[in-house]
Amino acid sequence: MITLFTVVIYWTSCGTMDACCTVSDNVQETRKLISTLHGLTAEIETLRSQMGRLPRDEAELVALRGRPMPPSHFGHGLISYQRDAGRDGLDGDYHLECMASHFWGCHWDIFGWIILYYGPNASRRFHVEPF
C-alpha cells in the first residue's frame, strides 16, 4: 500500500512538473522563432539596401550571410527563404517559411503548422496555415 502510495505521488508530481516545464519551454520557443524571423527579415532588408535588389534565392542568401539559415527552434529543420514575385496571391516580394508544432505552449492542431513570415512590402506580416 505504501509503495503504491509513493508511486502515485511520484508519478503525479513528475507529470505536473513535466507539463508545466513543457508549456514554459514551448512559449519560449515561439518567442525565439518570431525573434529569429524578425531578425532575418532585417538582415534581408539590409542586403536589399546594400545590393539594390533582393537575394535571388536561398543559396545566394546563405552565401551573402556567410552562414546557414537559422533553425526553426521547433526541431523541424531550418527556416527557408522564398521569392514570391509572380506567385498567385502573394503580393510581397519574399517570405520566410518554416514549420512549428505549437504556439505559445498550445498545440491548437495535432499536425502542426506552416509559418509564413512576409517581407515589409507584403499586405500581410504573418500567416500560419495548418500542415
Partner: protein
C-alpha cells in the same frame, strides 16, 4: 460449479470459532483503512501538485524576466525593434527605460490578452504595428488601446474578431494596414466606415456580402483590398462575382477575392 466449490473451500478456511459478526467487522476495518489511505493519498498528491506548480510558476517568472531583459538588451543595442509576447509583469521595467521603450516599433502578442497590465503598451511612444497570433480575449486588450494614435498596422492571425473588436480597430486614427483573417462576418466591418487613412485591407470572412461595398467605398485612401470568402457552391453561376462588383465600385483600388474550399 467451480464457483460452488471455491465457496465451500473458503468456508473451510474460516476458523470454526469466528462468528459472522467478526468477519463483517474485519471487512469494515479493511474498508476504513482503505478510505483513510485514499484520503491521505489524495491530500498529499494535491499538496505535492501545488508545490510543483508553485515551483513551475517561479521558473516561468524567471524565464519571462530573462526574456524581457534579453529583449531590452537587444533593443538598446539596436539589434531589434520589436517586442515579442512580453510578460505583463515586466512591462513596467521596459517603460521605465524610456530610451529602450522608444525603440519598440512592432509588438507580437498571443495567448490570453486579458491582463489589464498589458494595456500599458499604449505608453510605448513609437509602437506602430501589432501582430496578434493565436490570441484570445483580445477584445479587452483592444478596448484598452482604443484611439491609440501611433498604430499604423494591425494583423490578426488565428484570432477571431467580432463586431466590437472592429469598432475598436476603427478608432485608431492613423491605421493604414489591417489584416483580419477571421471575421465572423463581413458586415462587422461597419466600424471601419469612413476610416481616413486605411490603405491596405486584407480580410477573410465566411461569405461575400455586397452590403459591405459602401463601407469600402467610404475609405478615401483604400488602394489594396484582399477578401477571402468561403466558396459557396450554391452561388448563381451566371451572377456577377463579388470581385467584379468590388472592381467596379472601387476603380482606384486593387481588389482580389479569394475563395476558400474550392
Amino acid at each position: 460449479m467451480g464457483k460452488i466449490v471455491s465457496a465451500q473451500e473458503e468456508q473451510e478456511t474460516v476458523p470454526a470459532n469466528r462468528s459472522a459478526t467478526e468477519i463483517a467487522g474485519h471487512n469494515v476495518a479493511w474498508v476504513g483503512w482503505m478510505v483513510l489511505f485514499g484520503t491521505i493519498g489524495i491530500l498529499t498528491t494535491m499538496g505535492v501538485q501545488w508545490l510543483v506548480e508553485e515551483w513551475c510558476e517561479r521558473d516561468r517568472f524567471r524565464q519571462s524576466q530573462t526574456w524581457m531583459q534579453d529583449q531590452m538588451g537587444q533593443l538598446r543595442r539596436g539589434e531589434i525593434n520589436c517586442l515579442i509576447n512580453p510578460d505583463p509583469r515586466f512591462l513596467v521595467e521596459l517603460l521605465a527605460d524610456t530610451a529602450c521603450a522608444a525603440k519598440v516599433r512592432d509588438l507580437y502578442l498571443g495567448g490570453d490578452l486579458s491582463d489589464p497590465r498589458l494595456g500599458r503598451v499604449r505608453e510605448l511612444p513609437n509602437l506602430k504595428c501589432i501582430v496578434f497570433l493565436f490570441a484570445t480575449q483580445q477584445s479587452a486588450f483592444l478596448e484598452r488601446l482604443h484611439g491609440m494614435s501611433t498604430i499604423e498596422e494591425l494583423s490578426f492571425d488565428h484570432t477571431l474578431l467580432a463586431r466590437n473588436d472592429v469598432n475598436h480597430i476603427g478608432s485608431f486614427p492613423r491605421l493604414r494596414m489591417l489584416r483580419a483573417e477571421a471575421l465572423s462576418e463581413l458586415s462587422d466591418l461597419e466600424g471601419l466606415r469612413g476610416h481616413p487613412l486605411l490603405e491596405r485591407l486584407s480580410l477573410s470572412a465566411p461569405e461575400a456580402d455586397n452590403k459591405t461595398i459602401p463601407v469600402f467605398q467610404s475609405m478615401p485612401h483604400l488602394r489594396d483590398l484582399t477578401v477571402g470568402v468561403r466558396y459557396d457552391e450554391k452561388a448563381n453561376p451566371g451572377s456577377v462575382s463579388f470581385e467584379e462588383l468590388l472592381a467596379k465600385a472601387l476603380p482606384r483600388c486593387k481588389c482580389r477575392v479569394w475563395q476558400d474550399g474550392r
